[in-house]
Symmetry: C2
Subunit: 139 residues, 2 copies
């Protein structure tokens, strides 16, 4: 990849200049600060990003509901952000979080509770439910 | 989120049914199997996903070059995939990899070599270069 001056600034500079996609979003990966496990992949718009930085709690933008939401606002399963990093081209964010309860609306700690195996076919892994998703939940 | 029958199948079923976006892509997070560190966030189309599963090496789809690529095909910095997981709604993939050399084209082990701090402002962290990116490189 030819590195233009613009790319150089983006990659080597210390200015916070998130590169939002056509929908105004960056991708966010949340990992468990204790285990390193990937808990979820979601999106943030500019407001979600700024609220996350300002509050130390994870905020996202839901593409399906077209709305900003604070993780755990209805479920109580909040994420305290201990570290946030930006990738080389500033279009992806990695947050290391302390997860209360479970990240996944299905009741699992992580959204990644199925492994892909030859076939390909899925198998459950780390799929115990932390809470009962049939109870009222909307996220 | 109201769970329709379709969603239930997608979330609790064991059929491999990746949900590609309008561009035919799913998001892929690659973490270092040894340290848990997030190495990179990229995209896979159906072919990249299938080649990754079949070969045990990471293949991606580059949106900027509009082309399929095997990670490390020009740099030698390949990724051996030890585990692949799919998330609840099957639109994101998590691979745990053994990274040869560095994942990032800037020469760092991980693309996430800058931390976001109050301001917000970036600071370098784990930003030592594993290789010299001024040498020929195209990924």
């Amino acid at each position: 990849m030819a590195t233009s001056l613009h790319n150089h600034e983006l990659e080597e500079g210390l200015d916070f200049r998130p590169k939002f996609d056509a929908s105004g979003l960056v991708t966010c990966v949340a990992t468990d600060v204790a285990t390193g496990e990937v808990l979820m992949v979601a999106h943030m718009n500019d407001e979600a990003l700024r609220k996350t930085i300002a509050s130390g709690e994870a905020w996202y933008f839901s593409r399906s509901r077209n709305a900003l939401w604070r993780k755990g606002e209805t479920s109580g399963h909040t994420q305290r952000v201990l570290e946030m990093r930006l990738d080389c081209d500033q279009d992806a964010v990695w947050i290391r979080v302390e997860q209360t309860g479970a990240a996944c609306h299905t009741g699992r700690r992580s959204c990644f509770y199925r492994k892909v195996e030859g076939g390909p076919k899925l198998t459950f892994v780390d799929a115990d439910k932390v809470f009962d998703p049939t109870a009222a939940y909307r996220e």
